[in-house]
Amino acid sequence: MQHLPTNLRLLMGAGLLILVLIGIGVYFQTEQLETDTIPKDGEIRNAEAPLQVDGIESQVENGIHEPTGFIAGEGLSLVIAHCTACHSAKLVTQNRADREGWEKIIRWMQRTQNLWDLGEQEAAILDYLSENYAPVQTGRRRPLTNIDWYELKE
């Protein structure tokens, strides 16, 4: 390439880079076509890796991500991606634990339930869970709440 003018060499280099980028784009575009969105309630997925999550911001109402019931917050998309690939979001939202407790649950799922390595994303997932689903001190027996009062006719 030494015989070519510098400008042309730069141009070719740039062209090559664009081709590579297009290639990557096409590759992941194809991947996207094969991927899926959040499972509907009760829908069963072959879960072996996190789900792709897109456009969840538009699905948040009053601080709740409507399709899953998750509290909206930093890390929500990661939690949807990794947790709901295998089980319902309800299994998360009905539970409460501190950061250590959530980490134990993740380790247990990795040890026994085929959960994958969460890599660097684990810290953000633990932040989300421990902030939004922390234990609430309830005492030894909590008062009856949400009583649905009605006239009893005998």
Partner: protein, 409 residues
Amino acid sequence: MKKSFNRRKFIKNASLGSMAALLGAEIVYALPEGYTPLALQQNQDPGKLFGKHKEMRVLNDLPWNIEAQAHLLDDSVTPAAKMFIRNNGLIPEEIDPESWTLTIKGESVTQEKTYSLETLKSQFPMHTYQLVLECGGNGRSEYYPPAKGNQWTIGAVSCASWTGIRLRDVLRDVGVNEDAVYIGYYGADTHLSRDPDKNPISRGIPLNKAMEDQTLLAFAMNGEDIPVAHGYPLRLIASGFPASASGKWIHTLSIRNKIHDGEKMAPPSYSVPCEPVEPGTEVPNEAMCIIENMPVKSLITYPKSGALIGAGQPLSIRGHAWAGAKKVQTVDYSIDFGATWKSCSLQEPVNPFAWQRFEATISFPEKGYYEVWAKATDSDGISQPMLTPGWNPKGYLNNACHRIAIKIS
């Protein structure tokens, strides 16, 4: 089922974090290639899917876990519509009763044998009993610190009429060696990860429990085929034990010369600390004991909590009480938070392991807010606690008294 193991390896080998950084995106890709959505489970309405009552509470839909509320359990014999569902895995997709078989094997079987459903039904005498099934984690939601898992309140209990053959009769037919101590079950449900090499649950019962009159291999519930969600076409019924011992969709039983070691058999699953512990204690597995019989418990099933009644109007209450392998001796009620107790009338069980109906008529002294608390006492004189009982890491065995709110105006 087609599995995308190559892609999975690809994801595993590339660190998620580094890939995310490379792509400048937060998420790497989900690759559920070739999965088959279950026609049965695509519909999210448990009313349409399983014929459940509209007031049943869905705790989890993957896997399905659904509980009743106290007032739904008023029937003496629980109908399928009001029976809780507790699944660890996915309900089997295709069930063919014509080709279904039960194989009895294990270290302590005299001779391994396989039966068709038809053979089981025709070769052994049929028995019908009303039998309580209660999830070991029923009441888990009241423990603090919280225990992980489905947060059952009070509705993971039922007493349906089960028809089948005695497990004992089948065991005698195959022959049980002298060193046998435990029976383990294997069902046709699928692990949540869809890994065909993993069982969602494979528990069992000690041999002496297997030999009891009411321990059945059941074909029918309330006079009809067992609903699919409850174990069609063959379910082990071991009433009195946590309902996880009553395996669903059974295709294999293993006669073991040691405590069965299937999935969810080993502590901490369905186990509690052998000695009482302070709430929140980390308990090593070797200090945990497998739960056998469930404790005494009761539910007020009428009226529904929240009744408003007029001053001077008497209130009739009723409900059920049960006590694992024991009988319920007495049921009392209190309208003053346990300061005084009055006795309820109590019926005998129709058969061992059936729940018992209790009733009372209450007069309230003045206007105001009341709670009616019910407390059952078993044949050993052991009662339900008013507070949550001893904390345990997995939140089992909460048999605290049930109570309902009443206002007199």
